[in-house]
Amino acid sequence: MAEPYLVVEHLTKVYERGQVLALKDVSFTVEKGEFLVVIGLSGSGKSTLLRCINRLVEPTSGRIFLGGVEITRLSAREMRKMRRKIGMIFQQFNLIKRATVMTNVLTGRLGYNPTWRTLLGLFPKEDRELALKNLERVGLSDKAYVRADELSGGQQQRVGIARALMQEPELLLADEPVSALDPATSHSVMQYLEQMNREDGVTVLASLHFLSLARRYGTRIIALKEGRLVFDGPPEAIDDAKFKEIYGEEAEQVEVR
């Protein structure tokens, strides 16, 4: 049998500042085309886990393989090249607020263009066309030359998705992509992720706050608790007992419809 697409082995992360043990010996694998949802209380290490995979956060120990390449051994330059294939969207959208939507989307092509071009803002014509195509796909073609901070939260996150699409990613990391959005907008954003997963074959790793969303969109769920992996299985396998173990005794299930 072939190697799984993403392999995380004994991943541990200790933040120097404050000596926080954010991840402790976490191991799991992801097959190509999966929609893996990471759940857990805030502070359980979800953001850290996702950021270790594209090495925005440097793991303390453990190994990560992506498509057979050991990410944790790549040099900074090789890692930058690798990041082209790993899209990422964020809880706070992380757009360049004072720049246009177009500029924001084009930053998804930074890894594909020589530095002298990007520094002058000279993106090739194909990139601009691709940007318009991706903006159309997320329903924002009329907003291309609007400043990013003039958009609503849901629209900003769709710009974030368009930016990730520009990378033509194989893997998409989504760190609580809908936590800053209201329920209705949440679903529309999640549906774009689902579409990327089903139609473009992008493997998705998304951390979500609500179990109901995780059940609705995930093909598999892993759960973190205080930096440890405490669950790995299909959405149906999370029963009441398991839920209480992950979220604590007092927790109640909240639905997001």
């Binding site: 925005l56 930058r80 992380n94 720049a99 930053t107 930074l110 990007t118 520094l119 974030g160 990378q167």
Partner: protein, 429 residues
């Protein structure tokens, strides 16, 4: 005191071991305050009682040989007791407050005990701090704690005027005015007595002599050439413009080297950061006027080049520091996003950092432009060249009508530049 009820909700932030330095500085502040008071009292006693000639006194500080140890120990004692018997300025300035370990305000007995025990615990080389820096012997034995209060919403407090630090602040201000009055020898009568001198100069300046506005003045020679007021005004303007543009252009790239978040948290990054910030601070703390003195000797006395160099160096350092602080204050989100998309460090700066800092960079640059315009008009005093050369030449000649003309031109330049930078500022904010 009636705030016992509030004691329960008081956040129990105990002083950390790493704040030993803070604690020391806080004490040092109190000690210095008492030293200043002692100096003031001695000065006033001399002035009003022993009547030592004051001109001599404030610089000589005469004390008998046994006086010095007495003053040092006396002020030390005052510092200790003032810190324990109430909330001293040193405690207040660093956000400290003495509290009972039971969460109640300390009793008078505890306060006295703490002051007495302090001597045993601190004087023998700070022995009381060795075992537990957060809670030294004198705190543990007196059953007290030194709390750091959060600076945000304060629980109910006494009015400033009824607290030790409040009274102390008033006392210090009053003492400073009193001493200053004596030391500067403030005498408003001089203004009246010398009214004739003053009014003559004012009158002559109010009849400005603009004959040499556009024509070179043969009386004024700089390196065998004569200049008009307009000539010198143009030179001055370009001094200000050039030093601002050069200074900003050089400070811009350097400021990223002086920003911790751009340099990263690896040892090499730290080194560059510290060197850059150190240079900014050193060069900035040497005033433009001092730089002009140096460059006037180096280049040529009275050459505008010396002035431009001085202004540029100081501009680089001042803007460099302001710029780097802005860079450090950015939202890290976009930085993360650009890096995650495969952007290199320079692309991160171009796409995630610069858009965020651009407005404040412009604002600081315009602010610096205002400063440079003002400085360039007077930097000639120390050999930096510009319109000040004319000003000081005419002043030394006692040619007040011409001084009046130059002053009017200087005012016009400063006003016009202020207006322009003000309009530009409106556009960017």
């Amino acid at each position: 005191m009636t705030s016992e009820a509030a004691a329960g909700v008081r956040p129990k932030a105990r002083a950390e071991g790493s704040t030993l330095r803070r604690r020391f500085l806080s004490f040092l502040l109190d000690w210095m305050i008492w030293g200043y008071i002692a100096y003031g009292v001695m000065y006033l006693l001399n002035a009003y009682w022993w009547t030592v000639p004051l001109e001599r006194y404030y610089s000589t500080l005469t004390l008998p040989s046994w006086g010095w140890p007495l003053a040092v120990l006396g002020t030390l004692e005052m510092a200790v007791w003032s810190r324990n018997l109430g909330r001293s300025l040193g405690l207040k300035a660093f956000g400290y407050e003495v509290w009972g370990a039971d969460g109640k305000p300390p009793t008078v007995g505890q306060r006295v005990k703490r002051a007495l025990l302090w001597h045993l615990s601190v004087l023998p080389l700070g022995a009381g701090f060795w075992s537990s820096p957060e809670r030294p012997w004198h705190d543990r034995l007196a059953g007290t704690e030194l709390h750091v209060l959060p600076s945000s919403p304060a629980p109910k407090r006494r009015k400033a005027l009824f607290s030790q630090w409040g009274i102390m602040s008033l006392l210090l201000i009053a003492l400073t005015i009193w001493l200053g009055w004596l030391i500067i020898k403030i005498d408003p009568r001089v203004l009246i007595r010398r009214w004739d001198e003053g009014s003559r100069i004012w009158l002559e300046m109010l009849h400005p002599d603009f004959r040499y506005f556009a024509r070179p003045d043969p009386a004024f020679e700089l390196r065998n050439l004569s200049f008009s007021i307009l000539d010198m005004a143009v030179v001055t303007l370009f001094m200000a413009l050039l030093s601002t543009i050069l200074g900003a252009a050089l400070a811009f790239p350097l400021s990223f080297l002086g920003a911790r978040n751009v340099m990263g948290f690896n040892p090499a990054g730290w080194l560059v950061y510290f060197v850059m910030r150190g240079l900014f601070n050193i060069f900035r703390s040497i005033d433009t006027m001092l730089w002009a003195v140096i460059f006037a000797v180096w280049v040529l006395w009275g050459s505008p080049l010396a002035g431009v160099l001085a202004l540029t160096v100081h501009t680089i350092a001042a803007l460099g520091k302001l710029y780097s602080e802005q860079v450090e204050g950015i939202d890290p989100g976009p930085v993360e996003a650009v890096a995650a998309a495969g952007g290199s460090r320079i692309e991160v700066i171009r796409y995630a950092v610069i858009p965020q800092v651009a407005p404040s960079f412009w604002a600081f640059t315009l602010y610096r432009w205002d400063i440079n315009v003002r400085m360039s008009t007077v930097i000639a005093l120390v050999g930096g060249g510009g319109i000040g050369d004319l000003l000081f030449y005419y002043k030394n000649q006692g040619d007040w009508p011409k001084v009046g003309a130059v002053v009017i031109v200087i005012v016009a330049i400063v006003w016009a530049m202020d207006y322009i930078s003000g309009r530009l500022r409106e556009r960017i904010v």
